[in-house]
């Protein structure tokens, strides 16, 4: 408990430092006098109106889902950072499949989302397979394959699935049916409910079912889990498939709820929501229901800074800087918690930090 409280304190302090840094950067670029205007623009952009709330919620949806995806892998002790790739795989698959799948709107949306989940799961399976075949840690392989996913997405969209009537922009054809908007004149779409439902389901599975118990057990001590009959290879593949399906779903929802087609470059790269999702999973490792307010908070950081970008002209990449600072504080807190745990029992119930296998180099 004391570790939890200390971790919370460190995170709050880190957030203050991060926001202070953001303020300093804005002041450096726009001049000190621009700070009050920047604060107002931030509040306006994130929460100022119905439309702003809609944008914040819509931004939070892929963050929450990729966050759940990363959380599944981290819980099992697998440091798979391939969520951006799985996210892109799901989005491309949805953009390609939706115009081809016929049927009434509801059926079209459901089957497109299933295709997106399958694509995300396939990409995650490929990451796991390549990591095994090359004996290179999944952390490194997954990061390289994020770039491969972006490249393949560009290649496939340009050469195979491109809308022949689109001029200039590389994009797939318009989807025949979209996720309905819940609030007119905003970007608040039904994917938000779906994402929240997935999060509640994840919480329930994790805390109230035997597969969830197994996941937590495996993460805490894979050797013990293996000794009690869990095949490591097969189980880690199952984890990858589940994580990939959730990230793929996020990609499908972005296509069906926001862009209404897959637009090349709209989802991948360094501004991918999946990076924020990954940070979310690291920030909220214990309580899975906290992922929802966490995602909303990180999303408001982005929409707020977009407001600042519109008013003051400072790039909204600033949000990555703030998140990086917070993450460094978490890394510090995590290191301390682990040492406290080693020093004596009752040191805290922190999720284990997976360590990469570097036997080849260090043995």
């Amino acid at each position: 408990m004391s570790v939890d409280r200390r971790a919370t304190r460190i995170m709050a302090l880190a957030l203050l430092i991060g926001l202070g840094m953001a303020g300093a950067i804005i002041a450096a670029v726009g001049g000190g006098a621009s700070l009050p205007a920047a604060a107002a623009a931030f509040a306006e952009g994130a929460y100022g109106s119905g439309a702003a709330w809609g944008a914040t919620v819509a931004t939070a949806v892929p963050v929450l889902l990729t966050g759940i995806s990363a959380s599944i892998a981290f819980r099992a002790g697998v440091f798979n950072l391939g969520q951006p790739g799985m996210f892109v795989a799901g989005a491309v698959a949805a953009g390609a499949a939706a115009p081809m799948l016929a049927g009434p709107p509801v059926l079209n949306v459901v089957s497109t989302l299933v295709v997106a989940m399958a694509a995300g799961a396939l990409w995650a399976a490929l990451i796991t397979a390549f990591s095994r075949l090359t004996a290179v840690d999944v952390l490194v392989i997954s990061l390289i394959m994020n770039y491969l996913a972006d490249g393949l997405a560009t290649l496939l969209t340009t050469r195979v699935f491109r809308d022949p009537t689109a001029l200039g922009v590389v994009e797939t054809r318009l989807v025949p049916a979209r996720l309905p908007l819940l609030v007119e004149q905003s970007s608040f779409h039904a994917g938000a409910l779906l994402a929240a439902a997935v999060c509640v389901l994840y919480w329930w599975i994790l805390n109230h079912t035997s597969p969830g118990h197994r996941l937590r057990l495996y993460g805490h001590n894979p050797d013990f889990a293996a000794a009690s009959g869990t095949s490591r290879r097969r189980y880690e593949m199952h984890i990858a498939l589940a994580a990939g399906a959730v990230s793929g779903l996020a990609g499908g929802i972005q296509v069906l709820g926001v862009f209404l087609r897959y637009i090349d470059g709209s989802i991948g790269g360094s501004s991918s929501a999946a990076w924020t999702g990954m940070i979310l999973a690291i920030l909220a490792p214990l309580a899975s229901l906290l992922l929802i307010p966490g995602a909303l908070f990180l999303a408001s950081l982005q929409t707020g800074l977009l407001g600042v970008e519109r008013e003051i002209g400072v790039s909204s990449r600033l949000s990555l800087v703030v998140q990086a600072v917070v993450m460094i504080a978490v890394a510090y807190g995590r290191g301390r918690a682990l040492r406290a745990q080693r020093a004596g029992p009752g040191g805290g119930d922190s999720a284990p930090a997976p360590q990469p296998r570097t036997e080849g180099v260090t043995s």
């Binding site: 490194v140 290649l155 050469r159 940070i279 993450m327 260090t362």
Partner: protein, 305 residues
């Protein structure tokens, strides 16, 4: 295609393109071998690229560009050293954070320093000079490949030899390996583990900085957002594949680089230009597979602890 693969121009450019990978991998190798799994190579590299271009521009001198890049590399890994070696923060999370920091901060720096977005270049950004090697210069084909390369390419080859000798044949090199192998035993036998890891990280950071300088100033002197495009992670994979044979980083870097260069030439061959974004990473995976098969044959796998 055959013409392409036998042309001296392609192989010469490959040697230069491999240099940044080689330097970054050497830097990463020192960190990993001393027991710090530094995944921040990508972020360190993008900061160094920016510093190289900015310093070269302000001083109108490539030497200052290289110095700035090296100092930046040392500073970024210095942050990692303080956080992870002395404050014992989780090294993977700090590394990931520094990578995100690089992705987020370099566009802001570009905006703050040059009031521009996307990328920056100017005639005042001076590139690293290319050297002609007397003797080899006159040999047909080989002369065109080996001579006339970037100064840092020759330096990187020397540094590969230097690191190999340092780790394999000196006391401090042995202490570095010991610190990475069994921390407790090394500490018990009097190896100052923290100091050695800090040294390894700072020297490694300088090498990563040199790699960033080569990427930014080695060919077309320019900076663009995300210009490292995963090279830091490919270098990390090279470190794991090289395992105990540090010199293998040299052939590995050339193997990876050739696909970068060929990928860029595909368009003139009438092939899909989008393959440029796919080929380097697909090739990276294939090379990792081949390297695995090769090392399996050479070193029988032993049960790992």
């Amino acid at each position: 295609m055959i013409d392409l693969l036998t042309s001296a121009m392609i192989w010469g450019r490959t040697l230069d393109a491999g240099t940044s990978l080689l330097l970054v991998a050497l830097g990463g190798y020192l960190c990993v071998r001393s027991g710090v799994f530094n995944i921040a190579l990508e972020g360190t590299m993008i900061f160094s690229c920016f510093a190289a271009v900015a310093c070269s521009f302000w001083a109108v001198n490539w030497g200052f560009g290289v110095l700035g890049a090296v100092a930046t590399g040392v500073a970024v890994t210095g942050v990692l050293a303080v956080l992870c070696v002395y404050l014992r923060a989780d090294v993977l999370l700090v590394g990931l954070a520094l990578n995100l920091f690089g992705m987020g901060a370099t566009p802001l720096l570009l905006q703050g320093a040059f009031d521009i977005r996307g990328g920056f270049t100017s005639p005042e950004v001076r590139p690293i000079p290319h050297l002609d090697v007397p003797g080899i210069e006159a040999v047909p084909w080989l002369g065109d490949v080996v001579s006339g390369r970037s100064l840092l390419t020759y330096l990187a080859w020397l540094l590969t030899a230097a690191v190999t000798i340092w780790l394999g044949h000196t006391r401090s090199g042995m202490a570095l390996r010991a610190a990475g192998l069994r921390e407790e035993i090394a500490a018990a036998s009097g190896v100052p583990v923290r100091r050695i890891r800090t040294t390894a990280l700072l020297v490694g950071g300088a090498l990563v900085g040199l790699g960033g300088a080569q990427l930014a100033l080695g060919d077309v002197a320019q900076f663009s957002e995300g210009m490292t495009s995963g090279r830091g992670f490919v270098a990390l994979a090279m470190v794991l594949i090289a395992a105990r044979r540090v010199w293998t980083l040299l052939p590995l870097s050339i193997g990876f680089a050739v696909f970068d260069v060929v990928g860029l030439s595909l368009q003139s061959e009438g092939l899909w230009s989008e393959l440029t974004y796919v080929l380097p990473y697909a090739a990276a995976l294939v090379i990792l597979l081949l390297a695995r098969l090769w090392s399996k044959r050479r070193l029988p796998v032993t049960a790992s602890a």
